[in-house]
Amino acid sequence: MILDPAQRRALHVHIAAPRLETPFHPRIQALSTTNDWYSWAGYKAPHSVFDDELEYFAIRSTAALFDISPMIKYRIRGADAERFLNRLTLRDVRKLKPGRVQYTAWCDDHGHVLDDGTLFRLAETDFRLCCQERHLPWLTDSANGFDVTIDEETETLAALALQGPTSFSVLDAAGFAGIETLKPFQLARFDHEGHEITISRTGFTGDLGYELFAPADIALSLWDRIWNAGQPFGLQAIGYGALNRARIEAGFIVANADFTTAEAALRTDRVRLPDEIGLDWLVDLEKPFFNGRDPILGARQKKSLKHILVGLEIEGNIAAEHALVYHRRTREAGIVTAGIWSPMAKRNIAIANLARPYGERILDDLWVEIYALRELQYQKMMKRAKIVPRPFIRLDRRTATPPGRF
């Protein structure tokens, strides 16, 4: 034990910087007029940059640049990487070809979801797993018995999401030749100042868009290259507020916002099986064994699934976030985990977690109780809600290949 206070302080310098800054931080800070930051996995991330509303419309009308460097990124390499990931995740990784990306999720032994994320197959034996929460102990424990190495890349790998109808034109103008051939969930390698970067046609907005991954030390010059090329195409830097609206419209869920991950849950009834949070379509019972297989299968056979995730359309235009859902106005049936007035769908939409049989057999006569705080007084509203399919919006430009030019 070190007793000298000066030496002890020197070992704990991280206390002085409670929020890390991402490699793009200097650029975003320079653009920020709202000075509106929040903590994303320990990083200082913008909630808004200049105007929440206008940032959202940049996603849907022009192009938006969102710093996703705080996203947790793991590199998984080795002869057994495919087998390892097939045991770890719900989908069949054998069907994921090199150069492709898979949206997936993974569970603990009880079938409770640990996280969802995207799996990039960079090469036959080289993968990248991106997600919301940290999982290094789970991944390293899972790696026992497999010939794989796992590296945490969150700090060393900078990442940007470029989303919106003009995003293809921005990349094209920035000189990424061949970007037009990229199909949804495909990735390719490009050169930036002598360094290899990866661009994938993926995103969290339900719009045309890309995600760029580059070593942290070339992050700023990559930002500048995109930023400069994007100016004629209405490119804007955006914060999470705008992205959150876009992802709700697209019907995407966020770990520990729309469901509680198994490792974060303190209460025993808060954990969720994939089928309880709308991820049943990821579960592949034909593929080899995977973590949580038997409990998921068992819950389906015994019909013991307790929850269900649904999309709601709610009358009126008041966002219903965290409102309670009722059946026949009286019996509590669930909770809205995310809700907005959707400018694109022109509807009041929400993602809700219902206790079965609500949302499963009982679909009618659902109500949402919204508390609107108006000048220190709650206005309580009981609004009719209807279960509707997700996504709430479908944009043809998301999948058109080659994408439209502006």
Partner: protein, 519 residues
């Protein structure tokens, strides 16, 4: 490719018991044994030309009567003359416990003998409550069945029937350490040393470690010759008992394949399908019974891709580092232990002068070091089995507890140092024995690991401590003999109820499998 109804991996006494029970239940069963001879820890070997040693087990004190019946073990092997326990101390005459853990004691005052009997009766009566749980599958915590409730209820009732005072005392003592109990009941250092030794033999606890009394309870849940606390050496030795297990299994219709080490257990999407031998030969069966260490089963034989991360992690975390070394000596002449009557020499000779002696021997093991003044359990097998040694010569075997698996100084040097320390300790109780040693073999835990395929060299296949018993043996998700892989069952000492030559893990596993079919 040949197919069987069930394949048992491991031809130790539990594997043979499980196989015999399944075979008697109408199954076509094959046992696969890695070694060229079945019998597991009951298997003897030759450690010097002309000198034979028994396996790691020295005596039999918990062989289950149902197991003996199932395998048609002959009476002279399933039982035998009750042998005494002799506590050897320094400058004091030995204390000799006879018949069923000291019903009669020689060499102590009458008062002390009465005190020991009171302690013994109390512990045996309390162990009786625990025994109810040792001969049945541990209850599932999720869906407790009627019969489980009945067992719990009857245990509770039995507790109450013993009286309020007694039941309170049971709950008070259950998780105590043996040193405090010894001080509470006894005054004689030799008797305190004995219960401290017996409570901690084979577990990594010292007498003063919390819960160390459990080891003594466990010993007293066993029966031999029809009474609790009995102990005997089968006629012809422990190895003969091993051969009788093999003969019994074969007679029950079991196919036995020796020199057939298993390389992999085949499973797909949570269902077992067979095994592949190291030779490449494949056998299919809907039921695979792994009567080997659970760590071998799940970390070596089952592909990591076929079991959950959490389950595999739990298996990896089973504490299973053995801490008992075995010493076999080839002697020119039978040794003489002054003060020990001739008829007691065939018993267990426990070297331990006080509870502190046991605790002091334990202490260095916590730091990966050897005891400077070891305690040990000594037996003279060739006295009762002259065939183990050439005419006129003799064998001595000793179990030396608190010998760390991972020795800080390394086993290359440590082996000879421990041997010298042990010989010096023997010399104090059998003066002149050193000069008669023709050959010595010391098996440290890593040697036992290699010779008997027991990861960690732990003869219980995992520490017998409170957190690794009952519903948590070997881990919770595999505590009822069935495992997360359908059709794969566990039946070794690593499973409930635990180690010792009882055959119960094998018997209970087989009963569980057969009952599962009827459901």
């Amino acid at each position: 490719m040949t197919s069987f109804d069930a394949i048992v991996i491991g031809g130790g006494h539990n594997g043979l018991t499980a196989a015999a029970a399944l075979s008697r239940g109408g199954r076509k069963v094959m046992v696969l044994e890695a070694h060229q001879k079945a019998g597991g820890a009951l298997r003897g070997d030759s450690f010097h030309p002309g000198f034979q040693a028994n396996g790691p087990a020295q005596i039999v004190n918990r062989l289950d009567p149902d197991v003996a019946k199932l395998l048609a073990l002959p009476d002279n092997l399933a039982g035998g003359r009750d042998v005494p326990t002799v506590v050897l101390s320094d400058r004091v005459e030995p204390a000799i416990l006879e018949s069923a853990y000291g019903e009669r004691i020689r060499g102590v005052s009458k008062d002390e003998a009465d005190r020991f009997r009171l302690l013994r009766d109390t512990l045996i009566s309390q162990a009786g409550i625990l025994r109810r749980f040792l001969k049945r599958t541990p209850p599932p915590l999720k869906a407790v069945g009627i019969s489980d409730l009945a067992a719990l209820g009857s245990a509770g009732l039995a507790l109450l029937l013993k009286g309020r005072e007694e039941s309170r005392d049971f709950l008070r003592m259950l998780l105590m350490n043996v040193a405090d109990i010894g001080d509470e009941y006894l005054t004689d250092d030799r008797l305190k040393a004995l219960i401290a030794f017996d409570a901690t033999l084979g577990v990594q606890l010292g007498p003063r470690s919390p819960t160390s009394l459990l080891g003594l309870y466990y010993r007293l849940t066993g029966e031999a010759n029809g009474h609790v606390g009995g102990q005997f050496v089968p006629e012809g030795g422990v190895a003969a008992l091993g051969e009788a297990f093999v003969a019994g299994a074969v007679k029950a219709g079991v196919t036995l394949r020796t020199s057939a080490p298993v390389a992999r257990i085949l499973a797909d999407r949570g269902v077992v399908s067979g095994v592949v031998l190291e030779s490449g030969e494949t056998f299919t069966a809907p039921i695979i019974v792994a009567a080997i260490h659970p760590k071998t089963t799940f970390l070596t034989l089952v592909d990591a891709a076929e079991i959950g991360t959490g389950f595999r992690r739990a298996i990896g975390n089973i504490r299973s580092l053995g801490n008992v070394a075995r010493l076999d000596l080839a002697l020119d002449v039978p040794p003489s232990f002054p003060g020990v009557p001739q008829d007691a020499l065939t018993g267990r000779l426990v070297i331990g002068r006080s509870m502190e002696h046991v605790e002091t021997a334990f202490n260095p093991s916590k730091y990966g070091e050897l005891p400077a003044d070891p305690v040990m359990e000594v037996m003279l097998p060739s006295l009762a089995q002259p065939s183990l040694a050439p005419s006129g010569a003799a064998t001595l075997s000793a179990l030396i507890p608190f010998v760390p698996y991972a020795l800080k100084e390394g086993w290359e040097h440590g082996r000879s140092r421990l041997e010298a320390t042990a010989l010096a300790a023997l010399e104090r109780h059998a003066p002149g024995i050193g000069r008669t040693v023709r050959a010595a073999r010391l098996m440290a835990p890593p040697d036992i690991e290699t010779a008997y395929h027991m990861p960690g060299g732990h003869w219980h296949h995992g520490e017998l401590q409170a957190d690794q018993l009952l519903v948590n043996r070997p881990v919770h998700a595999a505590s009822r003999f069935s495992t997360p892989i359908q059709g794969l069952f566990l039946a070794s000492a690593g499973s409930h109820p635990g180690g010792g030559i009882s055959g119960l893990p094998g018997l209970l596993a087989a009963r569980h499998i057969l009952a599962g079919d009827r459901r």
